[in-house]
Amino acid sequence: MTHFNRRQFGLLLASGAATLALPTYLRAQAKPKVVVIGGGAGGATAARYIAKDSKGDIDVTLIDASDMFTTCFFSNLYLGGYRDFASITHGYDRLESNYGIRKITDYATAVDRATKTVTLADGSTVPYDRLVVSPGIDLIYDSVEGYSEEAAQIAPHAWKAGPQTQLLKAKLDAVKDGEQIVMVTPPNPFRCPPGPYERASMMAHLLKSRGHANSKIVIIDPKEKFSKQGLFQEGWEKYYPGMIEWYGPDVHGGIKSVDAAAGSVETDFDTFKGVLLNVIPRQKAGVIAAQAGLTNETGFCPIEASTMRSENDDNIFVIGDACIAGAMPKSGFSANSQAKVAAMTIRSELTDSKAFPAKYSNTCWSLIETDDGVKVGAQYAPKDGKIASTSTFISQTGEDAAVRKSTFEESEGWYKGITADMFG
């Protein structure tokens, strides 16, 4: 037996002297172990909730290669000049000091499901009773011909927040009036459905605020429609006339290849050139998920809708962008919501705490221009084995300025809320 549940542990305690007589290593083993891979909106939340709600009855280890986390959400506001980089970057210190979580700063390179251990890049292993896999996305660079990890140093994707975001910002800052930016957006499903279009808005805002109103952002999209399309296009016409052009496949005929060095995107019908290319390729679950055998043919991980448990392994839960969450979009908010269902389920299995029916929610706010925020959101619940939406809403076109301003203020409040919920 590698762990005791709370009731069994209580029995042990009841035998008082016997407990004290146990050698240290055995007493240490009495605590069930949860390991969390990935310290983002899913992983940090799951680690914090399990540690907080089990009140020390579960050993929680959080593995992330970085000692600081930069949120993808609000990184577009950094590009637009509304936020500095420090304000979207967070440490794990409070998770360690206030919740007793052990933070390991290293790559998780392998999961051995038979021995229930995670192997780190330094070769050491970490045992688990339950594993939470929350690695986010990885980019399939060659899904866009000509694009690669090396090319991303010239034509940044900036779809994982961090150095790529700073690189895109530096290149954006160097764009002169009259110069063109070309964005290649990804096919579904991808992280943050409104993200590319909020990004175009923020880039246009920055250029316009610098008097570069003759610059242009061309979006080459493999999709026929996109999230909050009506709201974005209304805003683009209102604030950035002539500055943002969106081309769906009926206009460009299909994306053939990109040439980062030449700054060009070739499509079936035309070649688009820009001083700056922002190429966001097709995505899949973070590589550790595939290594652990948790993905299916889509590249993402199937899960049980009522618990977030992997369909491939009873001891593993997959949350956030890496999982297939039915109607839920891939967003930080979704990951945070899924983390709480996984945390509750894991606690109930390891410590006999109560389990309640799963509920999920999401809201995505986007900023179009200063004080003009819009939002889309929904509530979800398991239905027929899938996560289905139970109610939805979206901002309306033509809303008055006061509504949009309060929507933006709400998004700022949410940012403070969710980052406090993730990092304590």
């Binding site: 919501s337 709480k340 509750m344 309640f356 509920k359 929610s361 109610s391 809403f393 406090a420 919920d421």
Partner: protein, 242 residues
Amino acid sequence: MLRYFRQILSRTKWFATTFAAGLLLCSAQSLAADASRGEALFKACSQCHEVGAQAKNKVGPHLDGVFGRKAGSIEGFKYSSAMKRAGDGGLVWSVDAIDAYIHKPRTFIKGNRMSYRGMEDDQDRADLVAWLEQISLTKPSANANVPSTNAVVGFATAVLEIEGDPDYGAYLSGECVTCHQITGKADGIPSIVGLPRDYFVRSLFEYKTNIRQNEVMKTRVINLADEEIAALAAYFSSLTPQ
């Protein structure tokens, strides 16, 4: 001119300054104040604050005797630690301090839990403060810290009959605290930590019945069963802001 005399009557301590400056000063304190307008403006505050004879604590503390009082000092009220720190650091509610606070609550005391965006207009604040100065001279209720009840109507009354399960509330709260901080800080999204149970239930029903309009809240609340609202109310009312 009438406004000016009203101000002199109600705020004699500002008389000399105002007179000497020939009525040309433009800070909030020097504006001619109209206390009767202030009374109307207080309607925005009255959802959470009581003032006048027999006032009690509600969502916010009662305001009787507030001028000259140390911040965060009413016995038995669940203040944020930020507000208590401000008081311990020497903040006393003067005309200037109250004016500055209601101008920008979130920046004047960072991390406090008053869910109010702020009153922009200098004249509005001058009028409100002038009225508060008069009305707050009365004595509060002897049981001020037994919170005032909030009228609950319709289907919401049935929810108050239900004894909420705080464990279930704690789980369900996961959905709330992504935005409403568990510490009770109001950073652009209202604080819901420590809200009286009846106020909490009434507020959620106001989303169900479209009296409150926020779409995010309406989408969440529409799916909440009575037991769930009762559980959430039990949980959040049991918490103390940090």
